[in-house]
Amino acid sequence: MPVTDEFALRYPGPYDVVDATSWQNLATDIDAAMTTIDAKRVLAIRPSSARILNDSTQLLTNSVLATLAFATEDWDNGGLANLGINNDRLTLTPGIWLVAAGVRPFGMTNVTHVEIQVSLNGVTNFQHRIGPLYSGATPVIQTHGLLVVTASTDYVTALTAWSGTGGPATAIGGYLQATKMRDYP
């Protein structure tokens, strides 16, 4: 029985009898093709994505780099967060990801600098932003960028530090988020 080029939809040949089976075959094949396309549609318009929030009262000691702890899932499409087990990370799957993080330390007297880092597997920084001199005491710092993830065990964490006088600072408005942009490779 001949089939179409892309989705191999079956249709009767010139000398075949057109009967109920002919229509059933075509309907069945269309159904299978639509199932395949629908799976792609879901991936395309609802990619793996999560955002977790540091809405606790985490203290940040002067000149000490601290890993942000997260208590709330803002959203989690894809099971990237498991805050009951690891409250500092999002675990990603192989792909190209956009990752963002931010925090607002407050409670210091004067701020010399504030910084934020995003690390892969707790070791490698792939984002690191250091703010310029702040005259105020409530700087906000955030960053976002691209990450190539090659292993299903890879995870990202956010770290922050400040220096100056006063404190310890309290972290508010902290977040870490990741959205998968495409497959790898």
């Binding site: 079956r10 249709y11 009767p12 792609k40 600098h113 910084e115 920084n125 703010g131």
Partner: protein, 205 residues
């Protein structure tokens, strides 16, 4: 055979049933074509073009007060269906689609921190899209920039920055990372860094 519906799917009229196999073939092929268009559209989203190029740590030093292009000779990741990147200083869009892109930079340098008052490290995402302005014949250059660094003795050795931008003329478009710093006591050594570009979607027009 008539055609109906917005998707032009054919269906047989009563007198056509004498040649039923032909009508069914035409219907199957028309559906196959429409499904293929849908499928390609989702494939384009799931495999959107992307390029990421990195520095070679320790190779490049950059003197003070000179706006210098940071070398990015290593292609870490690139969509396989496009021409390989050949420039050691740029991401080249010549085989990529025009459209809205997102791009960013990451740069680390030594020595850490400032050594003189007034030091700074400004990292630029330079976007060059040499399209010609209608009626003027003038090439348009677009530069997005970020000021990051320090004016004190703490930090300032890393920066991250990203932005969205348009590419109208891929054959004449590229992006670069540039550094300008004020560390007059010594040249800065590039310790880590990369530049990336990710296709977001088509231009409005």
């Amino acid at each position: 055979m008539e055609y109906t519906s917005s998707q032009s799917l054919p269906y047989p009229e009563p007198e056509d049933f004498a040649n039923g196999s032909q009508q069914l073939k035409m219907l199957a092929e028309a559906i196959d074509l429409r499904l293929s268009i849908l499928d390609l559209g989702y494939d384009a989203i799931l495999a959107r073009p992307v390029v990421l190029k990195t520095v070679t740590p320790g190779v490049q030093t950059i003197s003070a007060s000179i706006n210098t292009t940071v070398n990015i000779p290593n292609t870490t990741f690139q969509s396989s269906e496009f021409t390989a990147q050949s420039s050691s200083t740029s991401i080249d869009f010549s085989s990529y689609p025009a459209g809205i892109w997102m791009g960013g930079v990451y740069l680390g340098t030594n020595p850490v921190g400032a050594v003189n008052t007034g030091n700074h490290r400004n990292v630029t995402l330079r976007v060059v899209d040499r399209r010609i302005q209608p009626g003027t014949g003038v090439s348009v250059y677009e530069e997005l920039w970020d000021e990051s660094g320090c004016q004190s003795n703490t930090g300032g050795d890393f920066t991250t920055f990203s932005q969205t931008f348009e590419i109208h003329d891929p054959d004449n478009a590229f992006i670069q990372m540039r550094l300008h710093h004020g560390n007059v006591s010594s040249a800065l050594s590039v310790t880590a860094g990369f530049v990336w570009a990710l296709y977001i979607g088509e231009l409005a027009n």
